[in-house]
């Protein structure tokens, strides 16, 4: 297996991008990544996208996006794993380079969610859960995470305020990210006064509906050293695991085992422990998710996610800054793009290009991307070379 480096990245401002179609949103960032990498061709491409079929009636993204990219009749693959589609696309692109099959791989993620009504978007998102035994009974995604939140609050005493602090922190980080959908700062009072969606989660506990894309270019490290003029970021660990699709089938409703397992594989591969991670981009689709994930990643002890967040452990300047990009909450969550955008943030930070939100001495970063209520997780660990 060869070493794999990230040599280029591209991302656009996320939000309700009415004037641009899915193909344009994707092509734009793909070209930015190619430019950033300084390459004139690519060998193959992977696209993470949860549901272009339901959102814009378009499948066969492999053909569509390779066509519009203008880089020739290259092999192209659409990767789907609900909200972890982007992270999974990265893993598969990594494997293609590591195996020696290709030398320049574009990994992108895209989702165009605003062509349908909110009801239509909610329905498309609900396909990440068990249709017959969860969605049929009237559950929504906020509902599933609310069930986890209440169980976590009951078992560990996690408080409503601690959940709110996740959103406050991520908006604070996002206010320093010009590409974020909602870069406004918010307060705990704002969160606690916002509309209740599924007790105890309110609208400001939930990530938004977003249009957006992100892309990176991967190359074998040896080639990267020859052609790249920018600091190189090496992928040193990659882990992937699934869990039961239905929340109610899980042994412990307060744990995200798929993330634990994926992280274990990634840590082992990277030869790193949680203490050696300088910063992380995690999947805060809902505030409770970030709390459960930082526990699953081993950044804090089980049950301590709430207090740790409250005490600033995961804020910029804290022991392990989490979601300096603003996370899904402030940056936005165009589903298939999220996993790739997390990678873009880590690369920015490891290259020391993160401006106001730069983590000092960032050497090792981690991305955690997950699907549904934790049915799949992909974890990557990256180190600056």
């Amino acid at each position: 297996m060869r070493d794999v480096a990230i040599i280029g990245m591209g991302m656009n401002k996320w939000g309700e991008i009415w004037e641009k179609s899915l193909r344009d949103i994707f092509t734009e960032v793909a070209l930015l990544a190619i430019e950033d990498a300084g390459v004139d061709h690519i060998d193959s491409m992977y696209v993470g996208c949860m549901s272009s079929g339901l959102f814009v009636g378009q499948e066969h993204l492999s053909s569509l996006l390779s066509d519009y990219l203008g880089m020739g009749p290259i092999p192209a693959t659409r990767v789907e794993s609900a909200c972890s589609s982007g992270g999974l696309a990265l893993r598969i692109g990594f494997i293609e380079i590591a195996s020696g099959m290709s030398d320049l791989v574009l990994v992108g993620g895209v989702e165009k969610m605003t062509d349908v009504s909110v009801g239509g978007a909610t329905f498309a998102l609900s396909t990440a859960a068990d249709q017959e035994y969860e969605v049929y009974h009237g559950i929504t995604f906020p509902g599933l995470y609310a069930l986890m939140a209440r169980a976590h609050m009951h078992k560990y005493g996690t408080t409503r305020k601690q959940l709110a602090q996740v959103a406050v922190k991520n908006h604070y980080h996002g206010s320093m990210n010009p590409l974020a959908q909602y870069p406004q700062k918010i307060t705990i009072e704002n969160v606690l006064a916002s509309v209740m969606i599924a007790d105890p989660l309110r609208i400001l506990d939930c990530s938004p509906i977003t249009d957006g894309a992100a892309a990176v270019i991967l190359a074998p490290l040896d080639l990267a050293k020859k052609i790249s003029k920018k600091p190189l970021v090496k992928i040193i660990g990659s882990g992937h695991a699934t869990d039961t699709i239905a929340l109610h089938s899980r042994k412990d409703l307060t744990e995200i085992k798929s993330t634990e397992r994926a992280a274990k594989i990634a840590y082992e591969m990277a030869g790193k422990s949680p203490e050696e991670i300088n910063l992380a981009e995690v999947h805060d689709c809902f505030t409770i998710a970030e709390i459960c994930v930082i526990e699953a990643l081993g950044f804090v002890e089980k049950g301590n996610g709430g207090p740790a967040t409250e005490n600033g452990v995961t804020s910029l300047g804290g022991k392990i800054p989490v979601n300096t990009s603003g996370g899904l909450k402030s940056k936005g969550h165009p589903v298939g793009a999220t996993g790739v955008a997390q990678t873009v943030e880590i690369v920015k930070q490891l290259r020391a290009e993160a401006g106001e939100r730069q983590v000092k001495n960032a050497k090792v970063g981690l991305t955690q991307n997950m699907g549904g209520s934790g049915g799949s997780s992909v974890v990557h660990i990256m180190e600056v070379v």
């Binding site: 017959e132 009237g138 509902g143 009951h154 209740m196 989660l201 109610h248």
Partner: protein
Amino acid sequence: MSSPRYWREIPQRYRMEAGKCKKCDKIFFPPRLICDSCKSREFEKINLQKEGKLLTYTIIRVAPSQYMDQAPYAMGVVELKDGVRILSQIADCDFDKLEIGMPVKIEFRKIYSEGEAGIICYGYKCVPV
């Protein structure tokens, strides 16, 4: 909801039909083709017991369109006496009386209708005991 898709799940939706692994006794709801515990492929058909306890709950206030008339409604993960867990609405409950650990039982209810002219979908909900 398409007719075939609805009809296929009727034994589970109406009668809580589950599959019990003949080798290790693990119960699967809905039934499976392979036991993830002992890898056996042989199951016997059983109906789940209708009593259980509430493990966690939420109150859905912003509901999908077919459930709009029922909102706000409570939903919970319930562990039935057989050890099987299900997700269902908790009907006929006072929200402020919901408590983790409280006993509930299964009742047959309407889940939703496909508008004014489509099929009517029935299934299980839990009610406080």
